[in-house]
Assembly symmetry: C2
């Protein structure tokens, strides 16, 4: 009888998609930051009443952390897709750097990175936020290192370079690009940084 056989919990069903609402919240938190983003702004952007917001999330911090996780999920998916197209280690490193450069200019740059924003605004006095930032940074660093080792294995990256140290440098470059992108350098300047960084792999 029932087309949807998945059991539904009792009570009135939610009328909005959590992930769609979070995508809107991500924009507000990215542009304004955690403290400057008010519940009033968030509920308007998410298209919800305050009461509904607080039924879906415990408090403002929970909205933020859920937004952070959603942001990471979406960005990671795009990056993964980008890396899958790389032809060797060096190309994948280049694609990853360009992925950040693309996000660090123009409107995207102005909007900013939620990881960087969290590191700056929240990590110092909120353990949960700090842990998420650390995990995100750690994964990026590890990914750079993996790609570099792949490049050394396939011959596209020089054997002489130190994968760990170079990965840390590239992580610094990407986070720095995100900061510079906030006051909006043009596209060429962001990509010139990528080109210069790639010379480290020779």
């Amino acid at each position: 009888m029932d087309i949807n056989t998945a059991t539904r919990p009792p009570g009135r069903p939610r009328e909005f998609e959590i992930e769609e609402a979070l995508d809107k919240a991500v924009i507000v938190f990215s542009e304004r930051g955690y403290h400057a983003a008010s519940i009033s702004e968030l509920k308007d952007a998410m298209g919800l009443a305050a009461g509904s917001l607080y039924k879906a999330f415990k408090d403002k911090k929970a909205i933020f952390l859920a937004s952070f996780d959603r942001y990471k999920q979406v960005r990671n998916a795009v990056l993964e897709q980008e890396l899958a197209q790389g032809i060797n280690g060096r190309d994948r490193v280049s694609r990853m750097l360009r992925f950040y450069a693309e996000a660090s200019h123009g409107e995207n740059g102005r909007r900013g990175c939620l990881v960087v924003g969290t590191a700056i605004e929240l990590a110092v006095y909120d353990a949960e936020a700090a842990e998420r930032v650390d995990r995100s940074m750690g994964r990026s660093e590890a990914l750079f290192e993996t790609l570099i080792r792949e490049g050394q294995a396939d011959g596209s990256i020089a054997q002489a370079i130190d994968p760990g140290a170079t990965a840390r440098l590239l992580l610094s470059v990407t986070q720095g690009l995100r900061v510079l992108g906030k006051t909006g350098p043009n596209r060429d300047r962001a990509f010139s940084v990528v080109d210069t960084a790639m010379k480290l792999l020779d």
Copy 2:
């Protein structure tokens, strides 16, 4: 009769040093950020009553901008002194990078950089803040470029490298270090980034 012959303006003299108070405000703004730093916290840290604060400064933003300027003044003086000890262009680039690495770990790292914080939290919707950030970033980039050209002139840096592009990269690295420093990598990791970046000058 009067030991201090400098004419004093009418009215009760101020009982505190503006710059000493600003140094305290810099700490609060750096650790907490603009929005999370309340007037209550600021007045406690600065040792002033709210009324006195508002006689010295127009509003919260004026306190912040004055703190920003004080921060830049102090940091620039320290950096200048550091660079004066450099023996050639390459050494001065290295000293400048180490100056940032030193500020990007441990307690200083956790405290954070007021320029980066301003870029992330304020620059998007406050023109005065954005202009200060832009000017600060522009000067750092120009300084890196100058030092690189000096190194090329004195033979300590390879002629083949592009001073402008490399300066932009090094600026990205320093700003990135400041972000990473917020969640506190240890000293060695910060300095390994410097060592790796210096390879770009060979």
